[in-house]
Point group: C2
Chain length 346, copies 2
DNA sequence: ATCCAAAACCGAAACGTTTCGGTTTTTCTA
DNA sequence: TAGAAAAACCGAAACGTTTCGGTTTTGGAT
């Protein structure tokens, strides 16, 4: 079917190496350039990336491993990252591991097999599902959103602790003392950070520090709903609740709806992540937002930079005992004011 | 770094062909099998898919082109499809073209270059961005959600017309006559179908047939909000509105919220797509749902079947003048009852 | 023990690139 | 215009598989 470089060489009377040189941006005499371009045009030649990959040992493909694709927070990051990477000629292979450590391991192995050049990941569990293998092979890994101690790689994080602390302080300043928190699973890095932020704020601001005001919601809609119910049953006098991701915010709102609680008169709410949902809620929700586009850009740029500058340091990497200098960037969150927080006049 | 088949051959004293045979499920003498497995274990051998791909001319990769990844409807389908494909050893390269025809064309070209074995696509525009090239090359293409006349390929559709008709009939049966519709862009297949369904129902049920009751919302949140406002301004006496995708449903709810309209007392609403959002709304929304998992499964299974059975018909395909038998499956939508439709006692 | 078909095995060629040394051509300098 | 440096060019080997003929081994049947 497709024409090969050999065909182009034959057609133009030039050598294989010259064609290759032309294709890779090397110098070629003007008249030959024209001949080559004509031949390419006529024969509809397109370079075979697979063959090239075999030879160069680079697939120009990067793997992405995420917990859930049907989660707007992740999806937004992926969209942006894919766009940037593709504009640099990199294809992306996305693997959704459904927040399951076993699947995650399979995905990483799968991508290793496929010999992707690098990885963008949001680790699901606390143990390495095989990232180290990439690092050992000199393939860059950048971790997003969550950190993992024992894998030496670049990270792009968000100031989760600060975001939570800030949100809670807002509530306290509005006069709330008894504040509930719907937390994420404690094996997830972001959940732990947000919890810390909550606790710090409670301590600093002298709000009610009661362990039972903190309920796990598992980062799911159902979990958020269950947590909301539990909190409300246990603390009917609670005046505000802080929900710490999008899914749980949706779940909590469903439950609040079912319980017939009026927001913000009876209960103030601060949610997380999704501006659109917040604006579409009645009343509009106040929420913490994450800079998804910046996260994606930081991750993609970092990866590309590592990939393109690799050849130079090849030796340097080695003698540094495999231990590269890694960089971690932490981005700031935002806050969108809604009408779901009542100011108490006490 | 990595060991190759040659290393395994040397280590075991066997021939290259034998190793290849073993790796591809061929028969090998028991004792040799053991030797091979030991060698693989010791040398940490993993077959190089890139080299294999070069030789077999199959990348075991399929491309997915969608209008928006950060759109739950699409994201859910992708998640599921990716899962199925990967379990069959296929990697997926996802390209988000942001509903832009130009980007879509680039994406298709990109994937063609990458020599993916097949394509799952949701066409953005009405003209072929290059799918035909795949078809000509004997590579299966399956179209999801939207149909395109001039590209002969398999399709997985949803009964959009029926869904819309059904939804409107529900409204009429509940006593509504003056029903607004927030429609999608008319260059999108599904939007046209939903519009047809609406019009059919209005005609059949003798509801008010006024062109100005139909407003385009562009399938976006902002569009949905604007359309809602326009509808309300023009027809304050409208008693129900049918919104025809998730984003516009969110937008419409935002606007309804802003305008202070009470649902369902002043206005009944039927939305589209996202059950979770519907349940989290106040009051719970009645919505049309789409069978995302079934769509994904139908598409992925179809593709795999075409790919795995290809070698046999290779010849048959050809002499059929490139015109293969294509199949279109149409799936049924669902309906989730909420509390957003008022029953009029007139 | 002998023979034969079937099963298992083998090496070499090929897939379409890049790259390495080495050769030719061009261009510049004196 | 001769000579040399630089630029352009070249073919062959290599990347790690699969596959094609052909050869050897195996295990029954005689």
């Amino acid at each position: 079917m497709g024409a090969t470089m050999k065909d182009i060489a034959k057609r133009t009377g030039l050598g294989l190496a010259t064609i290759s040189s032309y294709l890779n941006g090397g110098n070629v005499r003007e008249k030959n350039r024209i001949k080559i371009e004509e031949a390419i045009e006529e024969l509809h030649f397109e370079v075979n990336e697979v063959a090239r990959g075999l030879k160069t040992n680079r697939t120009k493909t990067i793997g992405i491993v995420i917990p859930e694709l049907n989660n707007i927070f992740f999806a937004e990051i992926i969209t942006e990252a894919e766009d940037i990477l593709r504009s640099h000629g990199y294809a992306t292979m996305i693997c959704d591991c459904r927040s399951d450590a076993e699947r995650e391991k399979e995905a990483v192995e799968f991508l290793y097999h496929r010999r992707v050049d690098g990885l963008i990941v949001m680790p699901t569990g606390r143990t390495d599902p095989g990232f180290k293998r990439f690092v050992r092979a000199g393939k860059p890994v950048v971790m997003i959103d969550r950190k993992m101690q024992d894998v030496p790689c670049d990270c792009v994080l968000v100031d989760n602790k600060g975001a939570a602390r800030d949100a809670v302080k807002r509530l306290v300043r509005a006069g709330h003392r008894k504040i509930g928190m719907i937390a994420g699973p404690d094996n997830v890095y972001t959940a732990r950070e947000r919890l810390k932020g909550f606790q710090e704020a409670v301590a600093e601001m002298d709000a009610v520090a009661d362990e039972t005001l903190i309920t796990g919601g598992n980062y799911t809609i159902a979990g958020g709903a269950a947590a909301m119910r539990k909190l409300y049953k246990m603390h009917p006098d609670m005046t505000a609740v802080f929900v710490t991701n999008y899914e749980m915010t949706v779940g909590a709102m469903m439950e609040i709806n079912d319980l017939g609680i009026r927001v913000p008169d009876e209960l103030s709410v601060i949610g997380f992540d999704n501006v659109d949902f917040a604006k579409a809620s009645v009343p509009k929700l106040s929420i913490v937002t994450q800079p998804t586009a910046s996260i994606a850009r930081a991750a993609a740029d970092n990866l590309i930079e590592r990939l393109e500058s690799r050849p130079v340091n090849e030796k340097a990497d080695e003698d540094a005992d495999g231990e590269r200098m890694t960089v971690t960037v932490t981005l700031k969150t935002g806050f969108v004011e809604g009408r779901s927080v009542k100011t108490m006049n006490n």
